[in-house]
Symmetry: C2
């Protein structure tokens, strides 16, 4: 009988100290059996990555990316060695590997490299020796034999890519929450853990503010149809399965409510209503490397219209500057900024077959006396930009209106 393979990924908070590393070791060995091989991917201990980064920035405000990768990759190497030691202490065979040692080849984009291939040879050899395999997350190696890292959250990507390469049955993502919730339980105590969610829904939720998993990893899992199980490293309870199609797909219209307070709104007033104007404005902003989200243009009045859009708060100043320059060049009016905005969204694949979700959302917000500033929709989500100080109220109202506490 062929053995089943499980890939388990433990984040930094799961291995933040010696006690937690021991806890993870206990957990891992409980999954290893005659019929199951286990690969564990670990992140750096607690705040190690931040601490290493801080050392580098004390030496240079622009440390070279290649050297940063050399530096930061040590964090995961430390935790995988420690976990292997902890597992061996429990009387099980374990072996730790760096990303390079298990053949994770990447391109040469240091600090956010992309995985090109994985050669699972060393892992399969370790499986033959019945060893639990521990892999340093977040890292790979270029064809020039330079160490690379995969960007923040890159250990998720290591886990998913290994699950694909090894044809694992499931890829478990252990974290400090016990799954994906219908909304943030700190805002709505009634929020329910979602048992199953589709890749598309999860991607939408991640891009709209839910911060459980790195979006790139979900995309890769989706592309290769690798089931993800997001669960807590501190309890044995089942978490949330992220899969291609959920059981009750047709019935459930709305899977969750998300809220994102990291954006700001820019409005450029009295823009002449000529073809190509929008292209000019957003071309200039994108040149600055700023991601624009929702864009709304008013119906023109006297051949002049107002254009509003949202950008990450961190990029607001740069975006305002760029908008002012292009605004004066095209003869537009003043440029306004608004930091007091939030994006509240409904997400659910069921929207494809259920109509009236958006209308019900608008009515719910209206009933709660919440004004909608901008609206944007995708195939499986509806978002409203509202005043930030009303965001929690909006989330509560929507969670209740769509009966998410009952799913």
């Amino acid at each position: 009988m062929e053995k089943e393979i499980i890939v388990q990924k433990f984040g930094g908070s799961s291995v933040a100290n010696i006690e937690r590393i021991k806890n993870v070791a206990q957990r891992v060995v409980s999954y290893k059996s005659k019929h199951t091989d286990v690969v564990v991917v670990v992140s750096a201990l607690g705040d190690t990555t931040d601490e290493l980064e801080s050392l580098a920035f004390q030496l240079s405000s622009t440390p070279p990316d290649r050297e940063m990768d050399m530096l930061l990759s040590t964090g995961e190497q430390i935790s995988c060695a420690l976990l292997a030691i902890a597992i061996k202490e429990l009387g099980h065979e374990a072996i730790s590997f760096t990303g390079r040692q298990v053949g994770i080849k990447t391109d040469k984009t240091h600090m956010k490299a992309r995985i090109i291939t994985i050669d699972g040879k060393r892992i399969n050899k370790a499986f033959k020796d019945d060893k639990i395999v521990i892999v340093a997350g977040y890292q790979g190696v270029t064809s020039d034999d330079d160490i690379t890292t995969l960007g923040r959250g890159g250990s998720d990507l290591t886990a998913v890519a290994l699950a694909k390469a090894l044809r694992a049955k499931v890829c478990e993502i252990y974290t400090d929450v016990d799954g994906i919730y219908t909304t943030d339980p700190r805002i709505v105590p009634d929020a329910r853990k979602i048992k199953q969610i589709t890749f598309d829904e999860m991607l939408e939720m991640a891009s709209l503010g839910a911060q459980v998993m790195q979006a790139r990893s979900i995309e890769v899992a989706k592309r290769f149809n690798i089931p993800l199980h997001v669960r807590s490293s501190f309890s044995k309870e089942e978490g949330t399965m992220i899969i291609k199609e959920t059981e009750k797909m047709e019935e459930i219209a709305v899977r969750g409510v998300t809220c994102n307070k990291t954006e700001a709104k820019i409005t450029i007033c009295s823009v002449p209503d000529k073809p190509g104007i929008a292209a000019k404005i957003f071309g200039e902003i994108s040149k600055q490397g700023i991601n624009v989200d929702t864009i709304v243009q008013n119906v023109p009045h006297d051949r002049l219209s107002d254009i509003s859009f949202t950008v990450p708060k961190a990029d607001l100043n740069k975006a305002i500057k760029a908008t002012q320059i292009i605004g004066s060049r095209i003869g537009a009016g003043e440029v306004l900024e608004d930091r007091n905005v939030a994006r509240v969204s409904l997400v659910g694949s069921g929207m494809r077959s259920h109509s009236g979700i958006a209308a019900r959302m608008f009515k719910t917000l209206a009933d709660a006396q919440i004004n909608i500033g901008m609206i944007s929709t995708s195939e499986i989500s509806v978002s409203c930009i509202i005043q930030q100080d009303l965001a929690d109220k909006a989330v509560k109202s929507l969670h209740k209106a769509f009966k998410l506490e009952q799913i």
Copy 2:
């Protein structure tokens, strides 16, 4: 014109914090020129290695050596990346490498691996690009692609081995003292820095208690005749050259006085004077992995003699136990221990051609009212085991008697 190559090794205290790393960077770039390529070997920052070891020992009292190497090798990887960042910040080109990346191949003895070959390809390529090369000390890789470390002080060995492989002009060992002294300046304020010392003298001094450099590295430097320059990372002053033959070799009989307080003395009384008895005793002790140093056997009296020998204090209990077992088996008397001993030694290649050094040493100690318990000699050293609390007095008297403050 062919470029000259310098290898510089900086120990942990030289890179213990951000300011010191910047200091090392300044120092390194001052040596790089059109005509000189520089390879820098670095140890782990300050106490990093001890801290990593302590994490491992919190998980297991016997962490596997392979995993320890995976863990400990990160210390040097961190410091070499940081030094490369600091050098680039000064406007110079630099590139960091792990031991593996510069092709340091070792055997499979984890925690104390031996270097088999060094393939300098990547370093030579970096030289062609006019880069300063920073190499993580203390580590290599096996033919199975497992990371190894070279044992405590292994960064010295990395530096010497690289100097050999690259045919470097000199290998500079930067440390927190400014050279080798005629004796410990904390005991004798008049102690003088030695300008030149031979490999043999340095090896003898290291084995007799001087703790500046790892003995294995000196052996390798001797074998390949690589001049070592031991000097301070905090001053520009010349340190001590360790070379094959010093200039005034014939004139100077005694190069230095060393003192070692890490040994203890064991005496096994009333040993029957039969052939093969010594072999039995020391065979048993060596089976325990204990290194015995000086051995003295009294002239037998009534076919019984006392045998005394020294062992490291750390192994004393184990050695006493082994000695008692074998003692009762061969019908010997009681076993005595003495922790209050020290070894005081004179070292100098000139002893080969100067006679009477030992006699003058014994007279000096006698004049100072110091009793000699045991004596041992090598071709270039004389050692006396004396009472430990008289050791400093002995060192002072000998330093003065041999006029070492005047060399």
